[in-house]
């Protein structure tokens, strides 16, 4: 391999980034793979009272108490079922560990910058605030979720804002 080629590869690497693709119902979403800590099954979640419906509760992740959020409920999907296929993506954002429930995880995609289109203005459910764009891959469309913005967003009620924002 010539030095030139290896530099090219590096540039290419730096420009494109990898995404973990997951499904919610029939839709495909993707998150920055660097934010993902692990993927595990949905089990043993302890309910927490008086919180929004999409916060399923907390679970024990090897001794760490981790909140679990169901993105399907957050995005108001019609069919929400918990079965053997139901998967929890454990992400690490803003020094916090959070599990998000999705219908399934399909693959890891590498997206070049020209494959990422800016996110259009959406309706009410999915604010474009926490979308980093739309990834187009031949006939597939991936909704790229900025998981950090989503999870620290006020309406998620995951993070207490009172003290920090003051």
């Amino acid at each position: 391999m010539s030095p030139q080629a290896s530099t090219d590869a590096l540039v290419n690497d730096a420009a494109s980034s990898e995404y973990l693709v997951f499904s919610l119902g029939d839709e495909e979403y993707a998150v920055d793979i660097l934010k993902v800590q692990e993927i595990r099954g949905y089990e043993n979640v302890t309910r927490i009272a008086n919180v929004p419906e999409f916060i399923k509760g907390v679970t024990n992740l090897r001794g760490v108490i981790v909140p679990i959020i169901d993105l399907r409920l957050k995005f108001h999907l019609d069919k929400v079922e918990y079965g053997g296929q139901t998967v929890v993506i454990v992400v690490n954002v803003d020094d916090r560990i959070v599990g998000i429930v999705v219908d399934g995880v399909s693959d890891v995609m590498s997206l070049a910058p020209d494959q990422i289109k800016p996110a259009p203005e959406f309706g009410v459910t999915l604010s474009s605030d926490y979308l980093s764009g739309i990834g187009s891959l031949e006939d597939r469309m991936l909704v790229l979720v900025d998981i950090e913005k989503l999870l620290t967003h006020e309406e998620m009620q995951l993070v207490e804002r009172t003290a920090e924002s003051a």
Binding site: T46, N50, V58, I65, P67, V159, E160
Partner: protein, 713 residues
Amino acid sequence: MDISDFYDTFFEEAEELLADMERLLLDLDVDDPDVEELNAIFRAAHSIKGGAGTFGFTVLQETTHLLENLLDHTRRGELSLRRDIVDTFLETKDMLHDQLDAYRNGGEPDAEAFERISRVLQQMALDELGQQQALTQAPPVDKAPAPAPAVSTPVQSELEPAMQAVEEGKGQRLSITLTGVSDKDRALLVEELEHFGTMVSQSGDTERYQVTLDSSESKDDIEVVLCFIIEPEQLSIEVAAAPAVAASATAETPVAEAPAESASGPAEASTVPTAEAVSDPDSAAPKAESAPARPAGKAGGKAAKGSESSTIRVPVDKVDQIINLVGELIITQSMLEQTASDLDIVSHGPLVNGMNLLQRNARDLQEAVMSIRMMPMDYVFSRFPRLVRDLAAKLGKDVELVTEGKSTELDKSLIERIIDPLTHLVRNSLDHGLEPREKREAAGKPTTGRLTLSAQHQGGNILIEVIDDGAGLNRDKILAKARSSGIAVTDTMSDDDVWQLIFAPGFSTAEQVSDVSGRGVGMDVVKRNIQEMGGHVEILSKTGQGTTTRIVLPLTLAILDGMSIRCGRETFLLPLNAVLESLQPQPEDIYSMAGDDQLLKVRDEYLPIIALHHALDVTDAKTELTEAIAVIVQGEGRRYALLVDDLVGQQQVVVKNLETNYRKVPGISAATILGDGSVALILDIADLHRLDRRKSQQRHEAKRQHLHEVSLV
């Protein structure tokens, strides 16, 4: 490796030394200072100076140098202490602390402050020592401590040359003692010493080796060089001007010859130098220098060595990690235990035995690890003598500070968080509690006020009390103040309730706002801080006799004795110390109030009922009051009847913070992991009650809304 890698170690060490210095300065009896203490203070300054020099912290080095000089004169008895001198020393210590902080934060210390303090110190040196010189002749050096012991004996034959050397003032005879130095190091040291002057004699073994040296170098210089090879504790250098003294001491008092070190009695000690001071004032100085240096060096060295080998500095997060891991181990162990308990004991005997052993070991390990986090209350109490001293001086009051239970241990995280609230309470007691001298006299009390800080264990709690023998809280004044700030009060309120009023935000009965306290911010913060730590504050007060503020805290936040309860299909934990009793409610004991609220009568007491399933929206729970079990619990000093489905049992759990990855949940204080690996929530009684009230109100609103709509239709 960069030298800056060692900065942190130096900062930590210097910080400790400064704390030591302050403590010693405060303990010092100005009229009759203890030589050991003076030496210890001097050594602290000396060590800081050395470190500061090594790392190039010039300002720090120079300030300590000035201080060290003065301290050196003090310990030699050439500078007699006065209160204001100690004050200046304390001020210098504060300055050193500021400088240390500045360096720690990567900056340079305040040059102006440095100049000011060095001027003060230099002036003091000039004033005090100039004066002292004139005095040497008249009174004997009365505080010249401990006699020069055994060391001087072996060199008796060299008496005359030694004297000569001293009188010439150039070269001096030094007696160097090396303790616990290996043969190899010793050879190196002796070689090194030969560069300094003429070796007169050397003898001894590994344990103790003596070198006599004629040298024109100063004692300090030699010490610095030798300390490259050995520890300062192993070395003692004396100016051997002592033979004359030794001789006379032998003649007069044979006791002095015995190597009884500092214990050999101050009587002999003073007679020897006195005789000499009068007969030969010139040699008095070297004598004074040599005498105290030795025993102190030795005793101090031992102490320092002892603590060095018995403690180890470890970052807190490492300890926390161990605690977490042990917590995990315990959970895994109880998981295994559950599995094993289903097995047949006969066919699985060894396994069951092994499980029992594992359980015991795991518990022991947990206990041992938890104790690492425990620190004595002395860590907190030791900072108050200074505060009290300064404040009392500022307020013009005489205050005696008494501390009790210094060795009571408390979790480190709590220790750190208790300092601020406690400081506030102490300030309050000094400012508002203790009366001025005249008032105390008029009330027939001793003019010196007494402030007691005490700590003691009580069950799973620690009680920390701030007790003053001052005027006590003024009930009328508090009530009047409460009325004027719009707090609902009645004259018939119990004393306890009245005292609790001072914790209301913005409440202060001080007529005059001083810069010590009385701004009205504070007591509420104290209360909040302590509640955040899982504790509460109580006040006991008697007019004319004083006030006691009692802080009750759990011993540790990491482990909790809990009572697990069931509601529906969910398991929750109650802190065991909140649980008083449990009972089956009888229909006739349940009373309704204002429609929705219900009370349970328990032995002539009416307790508000909190239905857990209602507060936490538990489905499938027993909703019929008489079917459920009422657990009588207390939170923030009040009692409630908590309705649950079942009591499961008592267990010790590792407390896990919910806020690490999530947020504060109403009614819940933390979470824990149960034996089966699932998460259970730990209930916060007082918060649960608030939550319940809020929900009842919401339901009320909704009902009213509904009624309103109905009536409109």
